[in-house]
């Protein structure tokens, strides 16, 4: 009996060891650090936020093609993807693999919890992490090697409030996710709106996993605000819009750049939704934007989103910095990339010139848009 049990256990251990050995053999022949620049991505690639992972990756992949076609770098730029699972633990494990196994020099990232878990690993290894998706103010200055290529939410509010005042939308009802992003937005909106003579008539905090908003909608309806601002992300946005409209709220709906995802854009109830995001004039004449938009339309038969733009820009930024370092004969590493970024500050990117501050955060032109017939139309 005992012998049989120990035999089973031995078999299990041997099987496990064989499995690990097989895993090692299955590993692809990875380019050595001296052969290629490894670009990592650490996005949620399965589960409820996988839509974002797919959108983010698509932007990066197009930039890789353009960098290779333009022969911007002396070495190939290779993408290694890790699934962050949208959790801090998944982010830390994925980042550890990108840094220690894949030897990534530059990692694209999104989502607050994942960013905060991966940032210390990036800081220790001096590997640059670039966020193009999260807009929470707490993502600024997370580490010297953590950069943002997306304007953070206070920048969007600064542009929205004068627009609201001009349209006499002074009494705003707010629904916000109770996380650092949502709280940062509440603070910015409250401050800027009050200073401009407006007011927040109600501010309802929701959890990121909430699905039912009918009670909040019913209460907002009784308050008769001039407009309803919702600050959420992912699939929850569509639920909020639908349930507000179902509750008979006909007032103007407002939100921020997260509304650019297809699940919101294609929602019939999102018609007329007003939201801010960074300037994304796809008819712009500058050759970088023109090429990006033309190739995007050819590949996907639709307009790109600002997330596609941001992660394209993140990869383009790396190529520009690495090109600069190659020309000056310096190694491409986290310290030199950061020094080159702070020395240059202004970069020609999709959507116009991107200007970086001391924390390595971008500022770009912000515009107010409206969805009309499922299309994004700039209105202010």
């Amino acid at each position: 009996m005992t012998g049989g049990k120990s035999m089973v256990t031995r078999r299990i251990w041997l099987g496990g060891a064989a499995g690990l050995a097989a895993g090692a053999l299955l590993a692809p022949s990875r380019p050595r650090a001296e052969d290629a620049y490894i670009l990592g991505t650490l996005f949620p690639m399965a589960g409820p936020n996988a839509e974002y992972g797919t959108i983010f990756t698509a932007g990066a992949e197009m930039a890789l093609k353009h960098v290779a076609a333009d022969k911007m770098l002396s070495r190939p730029l290779v993408l290694r993807a890790e699934d962050s699972e949208g959790t801090p633990q998944g982010g830390a494990v994925g980042m550890s693999k990108l840094v220690n196994v894949d030897r990534a020099v530059y990692v694209l990232i999104g989502f607050t919890g994942v960013s905060k878990a991966a940032a210390p690993i990036g800081a220790r290894a001096k590997v640059v992490l670039v966020n193009g998706g999260g807009v929470g103010p707490d993502l600024a200055g997370l580490s010297p090697y953590y950069w943002n290529v997306i304007p953070l939410v206070p920048d969007e509010i600064k542009v929205l409030v004068p627009f609201l005042m001009a349209r006499k939308l002074r009494r705003i009802a707010l629904i916000y996710v109770n996380d650092p992003f949502g709280n940062g937005l509440l603070k910015s909106l409250k401050g800027d709106l009050t200073a401009a003579g407006g007011e927040i008539v109600t501010a309802d905090a929701i959890a990121p996993t909430d699905q039912q908003f009918s009670a909040i909608a019913a209460r907002i309806r009784t308050l008769s605000p001039d407009a309803v601002y919702f600050a959420s992300y992912g699939a929850q946005q569509a639920e909020i819009i639908k349930q507000l409209r179902d509750a008979g709220i006909s007032q103007q709906l407002l939100t921020y750049s997260a509304a650019t995802i297809p699940s919101v854009r294609n929602l019939p109830e999102a018609e007329g939704l007003i939201f801010t995001n960074q300037a994304a004039d796809w008819s712009a004449d500058d050759p970088i934007t023109k090429r990006f938009v033309a190739d995007w339309r050819a590949a996907y038969h639709t307009d790109p989103t600002t997330y596609n733009q941001n992660y394209y820009n993140a990869v383009r930024l790396f190529a520009l910095l690495a090109q600069q370092l190659e020309k000056s004969g310096k190694p491409v590493n986290g310290d030199n990339l950061r020094a080159a970024l702070l020395a240059t500050r202004r970069f020609p990117l999709v959507g116009g010139e991107g200007v970086f501050d001391d924390l390595c955060d971008i500022s770009m032109k912000i515009v107010v848009n409206r969805y009309q017939d499922g299309k994004l139309v700039p209105i202010g």
Binding site: K5, V8, T9, I12, G16, G19, L20, G23, A24, L26, A27, P28, T41, P44, M45, A46, G47, A50, G53, T54, T57, A58, E61, L79, A81, E82, D83, E85, G86, T87, P88, Q89, A92, V93, G94, S96, K97, V99, N100, V101, T112, G113, K116, A117, A119, P120, G136, D138, L142, N178, D179, P180, N183, A207, P208
Partner: protein, 292 residues
């Protein structure tokens, strides 16, 4: 590669401790809790606060975490004394949901979804444990201590009484066993070890937030115990290694397009788990009695 393997080994040791602690409840006590991540979280927040607000001493943090998780385990012990079986599963599910909300809302203590950042590397008697290999040995030492204690306890009168309760609570009570005391002690012991695992996790990640202590995490720990073999000493460890290392090994599969990597890995992972439960229902280290 070494640093990556050390990182995985640290996580395996921490989750090994966590699954060994849940095995006390599920495997030996028959208390099917789906709220173990709550005590893991309590330990992590306690450890993080000791490190951030006092000093990052590993033993002090582990002690504080064990105390807080053990004391607050009354929240689990009370329903465990009143209901059992599927009713207890629902009660613990309620506790898990309640705790997730508290972790999210109590921002002054937990930092909410933003969490607690900048947890410094641990020290022990004034010596820093920043070296990943040294920290791994510390995690393994806690795991070995837990295994030795569980082994010793389960071979003694307490273990026999606990397993008697698991098999038939009424029969054990009829034989004069103090059901309330034995169940409470099992819950306190299991949750205290979960708290220590939480403190180690906080030092390992240098960041904690509520996303690590959700129902998904509780289900993962439960799966580690059941797949490995509940009620055995080595089962939870085998389950932990499998559930942590299989996803890690799957990331080495070549030629998966980046946008499909998550879905393909989840499919393979889910399929492997299903097959495993069909062919080894008592778990990898469990006796084959589940197979009829």
């Amino acid at each position: 590669m070494t640093a990556y393997l050390l990182n995985l080994a640290q996580l395996a040791a921490i989750f090994g401790l966590l699954s060994v602690s849940l095995n006390i409840l599920i495997g030996y006590g028959g208390i099917f809790s789906v709220a173990h991540a709550v005590f893991f979280g309590l330990g992590a927040y306690a450890g993080a606060h000791v490190a951030l607000d006092l000093f990052p001493d590993l033993l002090l943090a582990a002690l504080a975490s064990a105390l807080i998780a053990g004391l607050l385990s009354a929240a689990l012990a009370l329903p465990a004394l009143r209901v059992r079986g599927e009713y207890f599963v629902i009660a613990s599910l309620g506790l898990q949901m309640l705790a997730t909300t508290v972790f999210t809302e109590a921002q002054a203590i937990t930092g909410g979804l933003g969490g607690l950042v900048g947890i410094p590397p641990p020290t022990l008697f004034g010596f820093t444990l920043a070296d990943p290999l040294v920290f791994l040995f510390c995690c393994l030492a806690f795991l070995a201590l837990a295994l030795a204690l569980v082994r010793q306890l389960m071979r003694g009168s307490f273990g026999r009484a606990l397993m008697a309760l698991r098999d038939s609570e009424m029969a054990a009570e009829a034989l004069g066993k103090n059901v309330a005391l034995i169940k409470t002690l099992a819950v306190v012991l299991g949750t205290a070890f979960a708290g220590i695992a939480g403190a180690l996790f906080a030092f390992q990640e240098e960041f904690v937030n509520v996303e690590s202590f959700t129902l998904d995490q509780s289900v993962l720990i439960l799966a580690m115990v059941i797949i490995g073999g509940a009620g055995t000493l080595s089962g939870p460890l085998i389950g932990t290694l499998l559930l942590l290392l299989l996803p890690a090994a799957l990331t080495f599969i070549p030629f998966i397009p980046p946008t499909d990597i998550g879905a393909v890995q989840q499919l393979i992972y889910g399929f492997a788990m299903t097959l495993l439960m069909i062919f080894r229902p008592a778990g990898l280290a469990g006796r084959a009695m589940g197979r009829r």
